[in-house]
């Protein structure tokens, strides 16, 4: 088991290196180099050479990559092109805001999804199945941003129940700041709920069709212990999907964060794209991708811990 975890950890390293290579390459997809674009056309060749040397652009590409990587792992992504503040500080603040949303959205979406899927499967073909399956299908089918707009329209514009956007002032009492969370969290939870719900239903139905479930009743287990067995058997594929979904929530909530004007990493990414703020873009993508890889690593290890047949 420990060996398995170690091996998976080692496998993550080349993936992360690949990601950083792509992210580094972003700068160089644009022809020429950033110095040429920054310098006025009348600058003398000596000054340009000086600047190039100062920023390390005179070195061969692989050396530039290594130096950049070395600084990146220390949290130094340079300054934002847009406002000349350190990228790392901006990113940390944004990540923190996104994490709050993602964790709450995932908690709500996953728990609702598991509930829907489990009930649907256990009442297969009867009305709870139809109801919960319909909810799950609606969850995956509706576009995020459309739901967000409708929710804002109903809850903030037509009725004055909840704030429409932003995340509230630090000075507000906790209760009022929580109100700002409600709509984005609900919006974010819809897709995970639908996707997880449908997978749980399919997986549990598949397990219910296996003989060992009948054998569990034959040895006298009551309803809840049997459900525990089913849950443990269904866990590995569901965990895998949860890992992916949580990853999407961290990085993929660009639309939702934009609609709600939530100052998270999705929003930051969006702004960076429009401002051509390459350092911010690089840092955000690299950090989110790293999270994604680590998350899947964790999922793999958890799967192996649950199902011994995966440990090989």
């Amino acid at each position: 088991m420990l060996l398995f975890a170690l091996r998976r950890l080692l496998q993550a390293i080349p993936i992360l290196l690949g990601v950083s290579l792509v992210v580094f390459g972003l700068v160089h997809i644009v022809p020429g180099n950033p110095i040429d674009m920054l310098m006025p056309p009348e600058a003398s060749p000596e000054v340009i050479a000086q600047m190039k040397a100062a920023f390390g652009f005179d070195k061969p590409l692989y050396m530039q990559f290594l130096l950049w990587l070395l600084r990146a792992v220390q949290g130094d992504f340079g300054l934002s092109v847009f406002n000349a503040t350190p990228v790392w500080g901006q990113l940390l603040a944004a990540l923190e805001n996104t994490f709050v949303l993602a964790i709450l959205g995932a908690a709500l979406g996953f728990s609702m999804g598991i509930l829907c899927g489990m009930v649907s499967a256990l009442y297969h073909g009867r009305w709870p199945d139809k109801l919960f399956s319909a909810i799950a299908t609606v969850g995956v089918s509706l576009p995020h941003y459309w739901c967000a707009i409708v929710l804002v329209l109903v809850c903030a514009v037509l009725h004055d129940w909840l704030p429409a956007q932003g995340m509230g002032d630090d000075t507000l009492p906790l209760y009022e700041r929580l109100q700002y969370l409600v709509l984005p969290v609900i919006t974010l939870s819809l897709i995970p709920m639908g996707v997880i719900g449908r997978l749980v239903r399919a997986t549990v139905l598949d397990i219910l069709g296996q003989d060992f479930v009948g054998a569990l009743s034959a040895k006298g287990l009551t309803r809840w212990p049997v459900i525990r067995h089913i849950a443990k058997n269904a866990a590995p594929p569901v965990l895998a999907l949860m890992g992916l979904q949580f990853g999407y929530l961290l990085g993929g909530s660009i639309l939702v964060e934009t609609v709600f004007n939530w100052p998270g990493s999705g929003n930051l990414l969006n702004l960076a794209i429009f401002r051509r703020d390459i350092p911010v873009l690089q840092a955000t993508i690299l950090v989110l991708a790293t999270f994604f890889v680590l998350l899947n690593l964790l999922v793999d290890i958890a799967q192996a811990a649950i199902d011994p047949r995966i440990r090989r």
Binding site: D211, S217, A218, K219, G220, L221, T222, K232, P308
Partner: protein
């Protein structure tokens, strides 16, 4: 042993009937099965696939889906158990009655260790703590002769060989000292060498624990090896019952005769193997009279109408056949 000293039977089944009614089809899977079983006795239900053997066992355990209509009476240790509420049934299952299956890989949960699965049953039934249950599980694995039982306790089903899994499954079934063990084709999926080991193990465990066994199989050899009595099942009915010797040596029912002569055994070199012509009837459209009549070479008009009389010999053997007596005499 069924010898005169009449103790009350451990298991008594009267007129067990199972029908599956769905939409427009009405499948008569089991049509009035009667038997009773003493402690330490083994009854084999012998029959082809689809004859209703496994359904009968599942009906006894209350494991059939809700749309199955089960009627009749079943007494376990003198108490009626058919139609008990779910909680009471769950207490019996794995306790007083337990079951072993054809394919242990499908009967064991793949993500729990053997030890956990056995201990769980003991905890469920006896409410003891997990440590005690684990100790009992170890003892059980030793009892079914699994080598290095201590290590095997921590094995998952996929880490064991076929024969070993079978033993583990038997240990699981015996966890709470059942008075009746239902065995659903337990040796069918095994190599012949392992098959005989498992049969011998079952016999030995029966001698140690004194449980009654209902053994379901289509394998005449296995039936001859393990049973005290044999009931031959066809289209959801017992067509012939008797002691193993009676059924094997002097089969009365044409179906039993066909079954025996279509089995390979010693001393039949150079003789063509006989087969029973035709195939088992569709249980949704059973013919009136004897269900075997369409395939029977002795069938007369009386076979195709009304209830078929039951012929009982003075030795206690039974056959459900119009011509049983004349066929035996002939």
């Amino acid at each position: 042993m069924p010898d005169g000293t009449m103790q009350p039977p451990v298991l008594r089944v009267e007129d067990l009937t199972v029908r599956f009614t769905r939409r427009n089809t009405d499948v008569a899977a089991v049509n009035g099965v009667d038997f009773s079983l003493q402690a330490g006795e083994t009854l084999t239900i012998l029959g082809e696939s689809g004859s209703g053997k496994s359904v009968s066992l599942k009906a006894l355990m209350g494991l059939l889906p809700a749309y199955a209509g089960v009627s009749g009476k079943v007494w376990l240790n003198g108490k009626e158990i058919l139609g008990l509420p779910a909680a009471a049934l769950a207490k019996l299952r794995g306790g007083a009655v337990s079951m072993i299956f054809q394919e242990p890989m499908a009967a064991l949960d793949p993500v729990y260790t053997i030890g956990e699965q056995i201990a769980e049953t003991i905890v469920q039934h006896e409410g003891c703590d997990n440590r005690t249950a684990m100790k009992r599980a170890l003892g059980l694995l030793e009892q079914v002769k699994i080598p290095s039982a201590e290590r095997r306790l921590k094995n998952f089903p996929h880490e064991m060989s076929g024969g070993m899994r079978h033993r583990a499954m038997i240990a699981l079934a015996l966890a709470c000292k059942p008075s009746v063990l239902l065995a659903d084709e337990p040796t069918t999926a095994l190599d012949v060498t392992v098959q005989i080991q498992i049969l011998l193990l079952l016999r030995q465990l029966q001698a140690e624990l004194g449980m009654a066994i209902v053994f379901v199989t289509h394998d005449v050899g296995a039936a001859a090896e393990i049973s005290d009595r044999i009931a031959v099942m066809y289209a959801g009915r017992f067509v012939e019952t008797g002691t193993t010797r009676q059924v094997m040596r002097e089969p009365m029912h044409p179906y039993t005769q066909g079954l025996l002569s279509s089995t390979v055994h010693g001393g039949m070199r150079g003789r063509a193997l006989e087969t029973i012509p035709g195939s088992p009837p569709n249980l949704a459209e059973l013919p009136p009279g004897c269900a075997f009549a369409p395939r029977c070479r002795y069938a007369v008009d009386a076979c195709r109408q009304g209830d078929i009389p039951v012929v009982t010999t003075e030795t206690g053997a039974m056959a459900r056949c119009v011509r049983a007596e004349e066929l035996v005499e002939a």
